[in-house]
């Protein structure tokens, strides 16, 4: 039983074909790392999974419920909005640039969605936010505003904010790419902790070391297709395809 199934997903931006038949099946508790060069469609794929982008063709099912499927003409048809809203709530998302709400304190950032979307009361939301802040090691920053935090701290708040909606699957789009190198460690550590809790995670990343250490499965994308996938050791240490080898040698050389 898969918690997420995406089958043969196609996506075009105007004429540009960005996803050319991507399939991914994720089991509960699995950690998937998606790697690949710039422009290969990693972000787009992730964004399609929680319908920040709509797909042209393909099938996506979350937790046993269909979000989108092809009609007889092979065109993607989305399920009714009400169902999709429920499904999307099972997906948490962490962005490269955090996108915290600048006019809200750290605590308010985390409380906001539970208050508005889950309709829990103020005291409960606050308690929940405190627990999550503690988990990402930032309880002492509760009353600060995002601009007063370092990039790494902001990203940890963003992770706590996503966790507050108790998603089934956490998606990360290059969560450390906007950070100074010395700040990536603290964010990766939080993500490792989440992986140890058996959370289902899909992580687009350039951190090959992290992928190797934490991911159950690594997926290498290039030009809108999955070129190679498998256990982290296999894909990263013994890649089979030339394109994977070329990509890995460039990223590994860069450090």
């Amino acid at each position: 039983m898969y918690i997420l199934q995406a089958i043969d997903v196609y996506k075009k931006f105007h004429r540009l074909e960005v996803l050319k038949g991507i399939s991914l099946q994720v089991k509960k508790g699995e950690v998937i790392a998606i790697i690949g060069s710039s422009g290969s469609g990693k972000s787009t794929f992730l964004r399609c999974l929680n319908r920040l982008e709509t797909i042209d063709k393909g099938f996506i099912e979350i937790d046993g419920e269909i979000m989108v499927q092809n009609n007889a003409d092979g065109k993607a048809i989305y399920s009714p909005e009400k169902d999709i809203e429920r499904l999307r709530r099972k997906m948490g998302m962490v962005f490269q640039n955090f996108h915290l709400f600048p006019h809200k304190s750290v605590l308010q950032n985390i409380m906001l969605a539970p208050l508005l979307v889950k309709n829990i009361n103020e005291a409960e939301a606050k308690a929940l936010a405190r627990v999550l802040l503690d988990k990402v090691g930032l309880d002492y920053k509760a009353d600060n505003y995002p601009f007063e935090l370092s990039g790494g701290q902001q990203q940890r708040v963003a992770i706590a904010r996503a966790l507050a909606m108790e998603p089934e699957i956490m998606c990360f789009d290059e969560p450390t790419s906007a950070l100074d190198p010395e700040l990536t460690g603290e964010v990766l550590q939080v993500m490792k902790d989440l992986a140890l809790e058996n959370r289902t995670m899909i992580v687009v990343t350039h951190e090959i070391g992290f992928a190797r250490e934490v991911a159950d499965r690594v997926i290498f994308m290039d030009e809108g297709v999955i070129v190679e996938e498998g256990k982290a050791e296999d894909v990263i240490i013994n890649p089979k395809h030339e394109r994977t080898k070329a990509f890995l040698s460039t990223v590994l050389m860069a450090r």
Binding site: F95, L100, H103, A113, L116, Y145, F147
Partner: protein
């Protein structure tokens, strides 16, 4: 000195008309501008086009002319408004158009990531607007907004054309009948006091919003 004592009560009466028009306009144009800005940004084509037309009309013609149209022009189609009502209507419609454009620019200046973050958290479009976008927009538009509000004080003088005795008209009448220049000086001082207070108010408002970013 005696002349000033005679003059000031009438001038204050004019000022009260000016202030009444000022506050009524603000109270209605500030929120109406938000609604118009949202309509202008709406994906619903007819609404969007109507708003472009509205803004074009009210920014593309002098406020003076709009006053004349609403007070005198409407009588030709059988609508007669009281002077002051006509003035308020013209000012609200005009200022809402300007404010809508300011708000619109403010809304559009907000990073798309804010919408996406709210969206993936499950906020509705309404919640995203009211809790995330508009509060941030408000901070950003304070400087252009304070310009508009100061303009509004000065623009109130225009209602003399439909015979309303606001501050400047009162001053002018006094100057002509008494054959003195003093009323104009007093009027200038009154305007400076009003605009000065507004400037300070916006300074204070901006400092209140300095708690973030």
């Amino acid at each position: 000195m005696d002349y000033l004592l005679l003059l000031i009560p009438t001038m204050l009466k004019g000022t009260s008309i000016t202030l009444k028009l000022f506050f009524l306009t603000l109270a209605m144009a500030l929120p109406l501008g938000v609604i118009l800005a949202l309509a202008r940004l709406s994906k619903f084509k007819p609404l969007n086009v109507f708003m472009q037309f509205y803004v074009w009309i009210f920014r593309g013609t002098p406020l003076l002319l709009q006053l004349l149209f609403i007070y005198f022009g409407l009588t030709f189609v059988g609508i007669t408004l009281e002077r002051f009502t006509a003035a308020v209507l013209a000012f609200v419609l005009n200022y809402a158009a300007y404010l809508a454009e300011i708000y619109r620019a403010g809304i559009q200046s907000i990073d798309r990531g804010q919408y996406e973050a709210a969206d993936v958290l499950g906020l509705t479009k309404m919640q995203t607007m009211s809790k995330i976008i508009l509060p941030q927009m408000f901070k950003r538009v304070l400087p252009p907004m304070s310009n508009e509000v100061i303009n509004l004080v000065k623009d109130t003088a225009l209602v003399y054309v439909i015979g309303i005795s606001e501050l400047l008209r009162v001053a002018k009448t006094a100057a002509v009948t008494d054959f003195r220049f003093t009323p104009f000086i007093v009027a200038a001082i009154f305007y400076l006091i009003m605009t000065g207070v507004i400037q300070q108010f916006f300074k204070w408002l901006e400092s209140k919003y300095e708690f973030y970013e």
